[in-house]
Subunit: 95 residues, 4 copies
């Protein structure tokens, strides 16, 4: 199922400052073939839901290597059947 | 990746009352082998993230059969490596 | 604005096990006059959005007293104008 | 409580295409004094939680004027006590 998702990954238990971990997550997302754009509270990602889930798992595995024992994720996504819609279209439609 | 998730499925474009659609979603989730419990704002589900995503896709496919063109999902989930934790344990730990 | 909300509070930076903090949050929510029910991934709360936000702030203040420097919250909520709907009605409608 | 929030507003029951409604929401958010930036899946907003909730209510009131009977919202937000952090800082810290 093709979706436009907003994924937010929260490393728990590693202090209030998580930017070193977010940089690692960003590197993994940037290296993936999925279209993605980071914003102040998460990353918008366009692709098959299964691929986005695999990407979330890859991020968790990397965080675990760095010593993170627990990770909290929020993900919103929508799918539509009446037309193809890319992330860029969504923004363009409301300008 | 084993997670405890909270999945909420919002059928868009079919009027303010969505309970007939939620009943269909509930039937699909009840028929799945995953441990799940519906609450007032979503369903807690325990299992592999990939299986939960497949379940979300099955719900979307059924909604599409019923005429829903667009579906919005929210999913939060957490994974932990320091110990196994089931949904029931999470509630028990805070009583 | 009257809403049915699902509030999840994630204490960051205090280790993978957060149940002592969740117990404190539960005590604050239980002591409030709002209708609320905890589930495995959050708490469903019925009331005015402004009151629910004040409750979230009270939980954050208590977590800060306990040494938590950063708190992440997720909240979904819906409002409807076509009829009054309580949390209990939402579940009853889909049985 | 000062937070950095990600707010997503989903008009229900008005067809799969919601961009006319999102444009109205964008106009209300742009006219508010809060720092805000729309992205493909929502809007990042920086400010007092109570002010952000009032903004969400203003958006719902406008949607209701336009005939929307039910609105679903997702909001994630985080507060921190160890330092002031603005939206722009969050992105800068991970570049």
């Amino acid at each position: 199922m093709k979706v436009v998702a907003d994924l937010c990954i929260v490393p728990m238990g590693v202090g209030p400052s998580v930017s070193p971990y977010v940089r690692e997550i960003k590197a993994i997302i940037d290296a993936s073939p999925l279209t993605a754009e980071m914003h102040a509270n998460g990353t918008n990602i366009e692709g098959e839901l299964a691929d986005i889930c695999r990407l979330a798992e890859a991020c968790e595995a990397r965080l675990h290597e760095l010593g993170v024992q627990r990770v909290f994720f929020t993900m919103t996504f929508s799918s539509r059947r009446d037309k193809e819609q890319a992330m860029a279209d969504k923004l363009r439609a409301v300008q």
